[in-house]
Amino acid sequence: MTTTAPTTTTVLDASNVTMRFGGLTAVRSVDLTVNSGEIVGLIGPNGAGKTTFFNCLTGLYVPTEGKVEYKGTVLPPKPHLVTQAGIARTFQNIRLFANMTVLENVLVGRHTRTKEGLWSALLRLPGFKKAEEASRERAMELLEFTGLAAKADHLARNLPYGEQRKLEIARALASEPGLLLLDEPTAGMNPQETRAAEELIFAIRDKGIAVLVIEHDIRFIMNLCDRVAVLVQGEKIVEGPADVVQADERVIAAYLGTPFEGAPGQDEAAEVEAAEAGAAEAHSTTEGDDK
């Protein structure tokens, strides 16, 4: 699981990221770095603020405090500029362009890496055809890489669940990122599909793309990640190699509740419930929300 990259550089450097929604602090002073060639895991119970942290990294939310650097430059809090800079992501609740074909979805992912504007399209200037063909070729390569090439002309909405997740990854890769953020990529997958997803993520890493992945499946994390950070109630409580983190009692307490005080697990259950209720409410009131 060790990286093969000769020199490691810092790809992502988030320092002191805090996100408050009114009175609720969803993310509290989180520092996290991801180095080139690394696969880093981000785990934590439901409502811990993992997705919110992703949204802060990708510019969907403007963090209340803190800053996010990508390869040494501070990222502007605009999603399209973040993608342009080289961070691509997938969503916890799949957000494909449902009524576009699989190929078109990936082509949209190429948007920042292509230039052809409206005039070029209207007048079919010389470069237009070439650029379209190059885009198409690149997109097909990615579909082959993720094993979706045979379904290039299907509508995204008609794909089975597991393939929709793969397509989201292919679409994100189309923007030629240096860092890929995956939000629960195996949610809802069966064990075989999960295994395949692992292989896919390794293959992505081998292409030289650093990966930061949110996941619940602890085996998946153990197999995959060089380093794991644990988020509980918005705070990063531990960070380290996967096996160390798994044995840490604070992590066990966070996931299973503290066995010594009160009814075991019940606080935690109530907390999660409250957080989810909050999330549902937040969903209906915040437009930029991605939950």
Binding site: F91, A131, E199, G288
Partner: protein
């Protein structure tokens, strides 16, 4: 069912016979013979007199020469006859029914009955009683009735659906109107395919020109009934699917054929009034297509779109050299067009920049407001409540006719032995603009920009996360849409001689208004090219032809929209996406999986 080829049709039909009960219990052979006989009788009846006086429009008193509404019955009966004979498997007619065999017969027979029945009713109502009917009318009427009864006895084209294995009477009637999709067509040489496309457009042009040229509303209603049933029958027979497969294959040929057919239209009309309807339809349709960029591609609900047409028209009117124009300059046509388009573009950007930060319903309401603000401002710039620019509610009249390359569009010209009237001239000029807008729509839709628009429409958050600058692209769509409407506005100002604020309302009884534009896009089919064109033609033609019901127009319009949304939410012309979106056809419409050779995947392990 969908992979059915013409060769296994017979087995299919017998299978259907075994599992379905016809609405009228008749042996299939008897039913078919009855239908053939009935439609033949109806056809013969059109050669006899239907009434004794020529007070009823169209003169139905002549024996041996069908006229007016009789022609519609004649055509309908002939189509029924052809479909019915095709069901016998007669060689040379089989191609007529690659999809359903019996449902087209029933539908066209219903069309004949509808038209004939309507005619008989209209004669007795207008002339006062059934006594005014001559025997010919009864012959056709009874023939049509017999044909429908016979057609109801024909076996259904497909077995009952699994959800309703033994439907009741109403279910059986509805089911007998459905048909399976046609299978894959045999490959023809391309010249033959192109000929078929040309013939298709020829028929389309003829039907359209006939509809515009109907002289009285009875004939137009009869035309609508015949055309609606005929269209559905042709669809059920699978012919439309076949034709659209061909047009998808030869897209440039299709586009050319469509424009040639459109160019031919003014040469089929000798009456200036009908050519004017054609020109107005084109203006309406072109603006609707421009709106389709905004609504259909980028998904921005713009309820004030007609204002951009108004900006273009006012700009062109101000520089037209009209004596009432407050500027008093006279630009050549190309400069006026440029002025109108640029003015609209600027107006689009000015309105778009603040409003496009809003999403969904908010945007709709704000654009609705801006549309009205435009109209009211034009009203107020009258020298009383504001500076005198637009003459207020009097508008700018006396806009002179255009001169293009020394060719005065205001006077008739002789072209190829046919006199092209003023409206015919403007029709052809407008057609050029329509062509430009079609080209712009198609090229922008099939590009990186167009894909970004659709992505924004589908999911704006995901689109921005893919690197799309949502605001900028939405503004681009908005501005492009505005510019296209402005182009059309420059011609509209000249066609209608004058511009007034009241032409640019949100909703009104004369078509190019925001509500009708949006309706044309939705009715026709969002995101398609032909959809808004067809939708606009229908929405213009129906009120223009049926002026006696002007008071109920908006009511009928609302009812029609509701019915449409209930039964065909994707619009008349569906793009493939919409069809899949609204009708859960599963994977039927998606292409077959291409099996990949083993090891073709870059990372085979990832493909598991």
């Amino acid at each position: 069912m969908t992979t059915k080829t013409p060769t296994d049709k017979t087995t299919d039909t017998t299978e259907a016979t075994a599992t379905t009960t016809p609405v009228v219990p008749l042996p299939p052979a008897v039913a078919r013979a009855t239908t053939v006989a009935g439609s033949a009788v109806a056809l013969i009846g059109t050669f006899l007199a239907w009434t004794w006086t020529d007070e009823f429009p169209g003169n139905l008193t002549v024996t041996g020469y069908p006229g007016g509404l009789q022609v519609l019955t004649l055509v309908g009966a002939a189509v029924t006859l052809l479909f019915a004979l095709s069901g016998y498997g007669i060689k040379g007619l089989r191609w007529l029914t690659p999809g359903g065999t019996n449902s087209p017969v029933l539908l066209s027979a219903l069309g004949v009955l509808g038209t004939t029945g309507y005619t008989l009713g209209a004669i007795s109502q207008e002339l006062g009683g059934l006594v005014n009917l001559e025997p010919g009318a009864w012959v056709s009427g009874i023939g049509a009735l017999v044909a429908v009864l016979g057609a109801l006895g024909l076996p259904a084209d497909q077995p009952y659906g699994a959800d309703e294995p033994t439907p009741g009477l109403w279910g059986r009637i509805r089911h007998s109107l459905t048909a399976p999709e046609p299978g894959r067509a045999r490959e023809l040489p391309s010249w033959a395919e192109i000929l078929i496309i040309a013939a298709g457009f020829g028929v389309g042009l003829y039907v359209f020109a006939y509809g515009i040229g109907t002289e009285y509303s009875e004939l137009f209603i009869g035309f609508l009934v015949t055309a609606a049933f005929g269209f559905t029958a042709v669809t059920r027979a699978g012919l439309l699917k076949r034709l659209s497969a061909l047009t998808a294959k030869h897209r440039n040929v299709t586009l050319t054929a469509a424009f040639v057919a459109a160019i031919c239209f003014p040469f089929t009309q000798s009456n200036d009034q009908f050519a004017l309807i054609g020109a107005n339809i084109l203006i309406f349709a072109t603006v609707a297509l421009g709106l389709n960029v905004v609504v259909g591609l980028a998904g921005l609900l713009d309820l004030g779109y007609v204002a951009f047409l108004g900006v273009g028209a006012y700009a062109a009117a101000l520089v037209s050299g009209s004596p009432q124009s407050s500027i008093g300059v006279h630009f050549p046509f190309w400069a006026a067009v440029l002025t109108g388009a640029v003015a609209s573009l600027v107006f689009g950007v000015v309105i778009g920049a603040p409003t496009l930060r809003l999403r969904g319903d908010y945007l709709a309401i704000v654009t609705l407001g801006f549309g009205e603000i435009f109209r009211i401002t034009m009203n107020n710039l009258n020298g009383n409540s504001g500076p005198d620019v637009t003459n207020g509610s009097n508008g700018i009249p006396n806009i002179p006719d255009l001169e293009v390359f020394g060719f005065n569009l205001g006077v008739p010209h002789d072209v190829l032995g046919h006199e092209l009237t003023r409206s015919g001239n403007y029709y052809l000029l407008m057609l050029l603009f329509t062509a430009i807008v079609v080209l712009v729509f198609r090229r922008s839709a099939e590009s990186r920009i167009g894909r970004a628009w659709v992505a924004i429409r589908e999911d704006e958050t995901a689109a921005t996360a893919m690197g799309i600058n949502g605001f900028r692209l939405k503004l681009l769509a908005f501005a492009l849409g505005a510019c296209l409407a402005g182009l059309a506005g420059t011609v509209q100002a000249h066609v209608s001689y004058s511009v007034t604020p009241e032409q640019y309302q949100f909703a009104g009884s004369v078509p190019p208004n925001s509500a009708f534009l949006l309706a044309a896009v939705i009715l026709g089919g969002m995101g398609t090219i032909s959809g808004p064109l067809i939708g606009a033609a229908l929405l213009y033609l129906i009120p223009a032809k049926l002026q006696f019901m002007a008071e109920y127009q908006l009511l009928l319009f609302g009812a029609a929209l509701m019915l449409l949304m209930r039964f065909r939410p994707e619009g008349l012309v569906a793009d493939r996406r919409k069809q899949l979106e609204f009708h859960e056809t599963g994977q039927l419409d998606v292409p077959d999986d291409k099996p990949l050779p083993d090891g073709a995947t870059g990372v085979a392990k990832a493909g598991a």
